[in-house]
């Protein structure tokens, strides 16, 4: 195999696709999604009204004073003597709502067009006020009250199969779930995009008969691996672009509130996890690319590409869908077993890893299995590619696929 020709085919494939809208839309789509979310959050924040509602506290001056001093609830409070006055004021739009109180109950009535008031914060503040009132009635000392209201310390952590503990709790779990779901979505999108690229590349050359000119001067091996290398180069470039974007964002926009929120979501992600996920994804994409290259060589024209590639896309959805049902099922033997299976592991294993249902050893096993299948597919896939790339059947791809398997593993090829 001529290295020079291999390089030329890879370069040609890489440059052809690098300049296309398709490649850049795949690269920029996730970044645009993040930017759009950031933009919408910013616009909502910038345009929301900062006016506070006015709430009348009916015939309870101590409560009115407490609320005014406490300042936790973002509202203006004023005391009124009676419910009738409060209702009259509300009718005249002098107030946005009123708060009534009895022995053990409080009621808030707000006008329908009043500025928003956090009911949760008001509830907490009223709880505190109620507690203080009761403590005063019981003649408790400040220390006794303090001791009574101090919450016990409660921490959660996850003991994973590697024997190491890590910070856990609901917040981390939610972050991990979010991360695994996002990974599933993005990996699926990337896979679909690269599967599309390699199939278009091969089917276009075959259907336009350019392949005959190329194979007259090169060999099927050079075309097969050259194209795979070119598209793989694109996938690597794609990853590098994200790496640079993340680096630049972290260095120059680290103090931004939105970036801080994102960082918070990724607290549980360590370098090992990121690297392993990167490898599993990349090898997974390569695997799908090899299969797609083999299948694409069987089509007669571009109109058959979708038909040929559809089963591959459907198959890639298995791992993607399973990431959604994975949460809360750390011991599901079926899902666990599937997370090692090449073609599925690229989405499922990172998700299990993110949720800490699997450890690095599991991920290494999945990666090794991916590599073994990749080598096997590359070797025998080339034979299938050779058989089909210049064969034009009567449109039956299934027939072509079955014929390709005949004698595939015989030594004489």
């Amino acid at each position: 195999m001529s290295k020079r020709q291999l390089y030329l085919v890879a370069r040609q494939t890489y440059l052809n696709r690098f300049k296309t809208f398709g490649f850049w839309s795949v690269v920029l789509a996730p970044l645009l999604v993040i930017l759009v979310i950031f933009g919408i959050t910013w616009v909502i924040d910038a345009t929301q009204s900062h006016e506070q509602p006015t709430v009348a506290v009916v015939a309870n001056r101590p409560l009115d004073n407490y609320l005014k001093q406490n300042k936790t609830v973002k509202a203006k409070f004023k005391n009124v003597d009676s419910l009738a006055t409060a209702k009259a004021n509300l009718k005249k739009d002098k107030i946005d709502g009123y708060l009534t109180s009895k022995e053990n109950s409080y009621a808030l009535k707000m006008s329908v067009d009043a500025e928003n008031l956090s009911e949760t914060t008001l509830q907490v503040t009223l709880d505190q006020y109620h507690m203080l009132s009761q403590a005063t009635k019981m003649h408790l000392t400040p220390n006794q009250l303090n001791s009574l209201v101090t919450k016990p310390d409660f921490q959660t952590s996850v003991y994973n199969t590697s024997g190491k503990s890590s910070q856990g709790g609901q917040a981390t779990n939610q972050a991990n779930q979010l991360l695994s779901a996002a990974l599933g979505i993005f990996i699926f999108i990337f896979l679909s995009a690269y599967v599309g690229m390699i199939s278009q590349e091969i089917a276009n050359e075959k259907s336009s008969r350019i392949m005959e000119i190329l194979l007259a001067v090169t060999s099927p091996g050079i075309q097969f691996f050259g194209k795979l290398l070119g598209i793989a180069g694109l996938a690597i470039t794609h990853g590098l672009i994200y790496f640079v974007v993340v680096g630049v964002t972290a260095i120059f926009f680290g103090d931004n509130e939105f970036v801080k929120t994102l960082k918070g979501l990724l607290t549980g992600v360590d370098a090992k996890f990121a690297i392993m996920t990167g490898f599993l994804t990349l090898i997974g994409i390569f695997l799908y690319m090899v299969v797609t290259a083999i299948v694409s060589a069987m089509v007669n024209d571009l109109s058959q590409v979708q038909q040929a590639v559809a089963p591959i896309s459907y198959f890639s959805m298995i791992g993607y869908i399973l990431t959604f049902v994975l949460n809360g099922q750390p011991h599901n033997a079926f899902i666990n077993a599937l997370s090692y299976v090449p073609f599925i592991s690229q989405t499922l294993m990172p998700a299990r890893l993110g949720l800490q249902y699997a450890n690095m050893t599991d991920a290494f096993i999945a990666l090794a299995l991916e590599l073994i299948v990749l080598i096997f597919l590359a070797r025998y896939g080339l034979r299938v590619y050779k058989r089909n790339v210049l064969t034009y059947n009567d449109g039956n791809i299934t027939k072509a696929a079955l014929l390709s398997l005949k004698g595939l593993f015989s030594k004489k090829q």
Binding site: I213, V217, S219
Partner: protein
């Protein structure tokens, strides 16, 4: 020299090429003719290593064709293919580099080829913006810019207008003069006659004719006469051995049962001592082709 020895290709039970033998010498042009499905493209595919022969060998100067040799092959497939979204330059340079040509050299050569073939457009134009004729010229440039030692042309004149056909013929003759081995298939018999030094005709995979063009034609005898004379058809038909008389241009085309009948025809038309045109020839390649294909003999 390129040599095809006992070349046979079977697809299942179907015999596509049967025991073909051919030599392709430097500076020689071989025309491969035959009906559709006769085995021409299959022969090219075996020469290009697209498919393996069932039996027989193909050698170049005594050794099997290697990947390095393939870089010296220029191939023009029957169904033309170019990357529609690439520019003329990107396209030609890519093919040239795959053939081992330096990019800078190819870039320089491309400019002179564009002028030589009178391609309307710039090297920076995308192929999809070119007319069919100009795209065909670009395809020809991509095939010959590397000055290949072996040129394989599958139906090179298909779809070409007379101007492009002539350009293609000129290029084939130029490469021939430079010592290239050239083999081409065509249904354009006049083109085959003009270009070929040798001819190989296939019928259902079998070689039915092979050798130098003139030798093949002469082997069928001078059984055709083109005549311009006031002598009537009735007078001509009195001569035994005249099979058919057809009007052709300003004169008539006469088919003879045997070349010796020509003497009697000449005696008749020249009895007054003058005949404007009398030309006794072997059958044309077109005639030989039609007769061979339909299973009859030219002399029938």
């Amino acid at each position: 020299m390129i040599e095809l020895k006992n070349l046979t290709k079977k697809f299942g039970d179907k015999l596509a090429v049967d025991d073909m033998n051919m030599q392709l010498k430097p500076g020689h042009v071989v025309g491969l003719i035959g009906q559709n499905g006769a085995g021409k493209t299959t022969t090219f595919r075996m020469m290009l290593d697209f498919i393996q022969p069932t039996k027989g060998t193909i050698s170049w100067d005594g050794h099997a064709i290697t990947n390095k040799d393939k870089q010296n092959i220029g191939f023009l497939p029957e169904e033309r293919g170019l990357y529609q979204k690439l520019t003329v330059e990107q396209q030609v340079l890519y093919f040239a580099e795959l053939h081992g040509m330096k990019k800078a050299d190819a870039k320089q050569q491309l400019q002179s080829w564009m002028k030589k073939l009178d391609v309307v457009g710039k090297v920076s134009d995308k192929v999809q913006s070119l007319s069919k004729g100009n795209a065909q010229k670009v395809q020809l440039i991509a095939t010959v810019i590397t000055e290949p030692s072996l040129l394989i042309l599958d139906e090179p004149f298909t779809g070409l207008d007379p101007v492009n056909t002539q350009l293609m013929m000129n290029e084939i003759l130029r490469l021939k003069q430079n010592g290239a081995h050239i083999i081409f298939s065509s249904h354009n018999m006049s083109g085959v006659e003009k270009l070929s030094d040798e001819l190989l005709m296939l019928k259902h995979g079998k070689t039915v004719l092979s050798g130098e063009l003139n030798t093949i034609r002469e082997s069928f005898g001078r059984s055709e006469i083109y005549l311009e004379s006031p002598v009537t058809n009735e007078q001509l038909l009195t001569i035994p051995g005249i099979l058919d008389i057809q009007k052709e241009g300003a004169g008539r085309h006469i088919k003879l049962a045997d070349s010796s009948v020509g003497k009697e025809v000449f005696s008749l038309v020249a009895k007054d001592g003058y005949v404007p045109v009398f030309s006794q020839q072997p059958p044309t390649l077109d005639e030989i082709f039609r007769r061979e294909v339909t299973g009859g003999s030219v002399n029938e």
